[in-house]
């Protein structure tokens, strides 16, 4: 017997790319959304679990709206989510967003500086705004 409760939640799917500084930024920005900006409205989806996990991640992304957050133009999170689950409502590409807003990418993959915090905040606010749009429109 299965019951399903539709929750007003948006799945955030970062790429977490290890090989790029922007990948580190995706992680921090997404966690800020999940933990501080929209903790009750969002849930994190681990991208590698789309292949490695049970159906939980893929099913969520089929049923609920998602926002993919990619570090670079390879768009790994967006491409994988579309291929294995469903089209995300929004696809954020951090490198492009920073360029649009005239901000520099972080210089280290390993640690983020105070200057990078501004970039984290920018990306996090952008994602939070998209979460709000999705939940307003339904």
């Amino acid at each position: 017997m299965l019951q399903e409760f539709k929750q007003e939640k948006v799945g955030i799917i970062p790429c977490n790319g290890e090989d790029l500084c922007e990948g580190t930024l995706t992680r921090f920005a997404c966690r800020k959304v999940l933990d501080t900006l929209r903790p009750h409205e969002t849930v994190t989806i681990c991208l590698p679990l789309f292949i490695a996990g049970d159906a939980g991640e893929r099913n969520f992304a089929k049923t609920f709206p998602t926002i993919t957050v990619d570090g670079c133009a390879k768009r790994c999170s967006q491409v994988t989510t579309e291929k294995l689950s469903g089209k995300p409502r929004y696809a954020v590409v951090v490198s492009e967003l920073l360029k649009e807003r005239g901000m520099e990418a972080p210089s280290s993959k390993r640690t983020l500086t105070r200057k990078d915090q501004a970039a984290i905040d920018l990306v996090a606010e952008d994602i939070a705004g998209k979460v709000d749009e999705i939940l307003r429109k339904g």
Binding site: P14, C15, N16, G17, E18, D19, L20, G23, R27, F28, C30, R31, D35, T44, C46, L47, P48, L49, F50, I51, A52, G53, G71, K74, R75, C76, S77, V79, T80, K83, K109, R110
Partner: protein, 134 residues
């Protein structure tokens, strides 16, 4: 061209293990074995990125998974490549139960002590693989 060892962490964002794995990989690549070791984004393998696939096909691979879900190992194997070593961060935590990371991304002092221990373990595994090759 000299072969490298490719170390791939799991990209986990739901638990502190993921960040510990990543930081340990960075410590090995940047501090302990610059030149011998490299990494690539696990997500690139998921989109069949030709460069990422060629890198793992041509070199030895060590995966560093946060937990028993083994996302890094499974995603590498999904491409058809067998991993040479598969490490789990949780095993290091079991051996050092008094060290508790502060948060998921902000690991704190204890979390970074675990990172150093894991980096050393990874370094030993790499040394083992390199001995085999020579």
């Amino acid at each position: 061209m000299k072969k490298k060892i490719v170390v791939i962490p799991c990209s986990g964002i739901g638990k502190s293990f993921g960040e510990m794995g990543r930081q340990a990989v960075y410590e090995v690549i940047e501090d302990l074995r610059p030149g011998d070791v490299t990494t690539t984004c696990l997500a690139r393998l998921m989109i069949d990125d030709p460069e990422a696939k060629a890198l793992i096909e041509d070199n030895r691979v060590i995966t560093v998974d946060g937990c028993a879900k083994d996302c890094a190992r499974k995603n590498v194997e999904f491409t058809g490549k067998s991993v040479d070593r598969a490490l789990r961060v949780i095993e290091v935590f079991k051996e050092n139960r008094d060290l508790k990371p502060l948060g998921i991304l902000n690991l704190g002092e204890d979390g970074f002590k675990l990172v150093h221990i894991l980096a050393q373990k990874l370094n030993e595994e790499i040394a083992g693989l390199m001995r085999k090759e020579s």
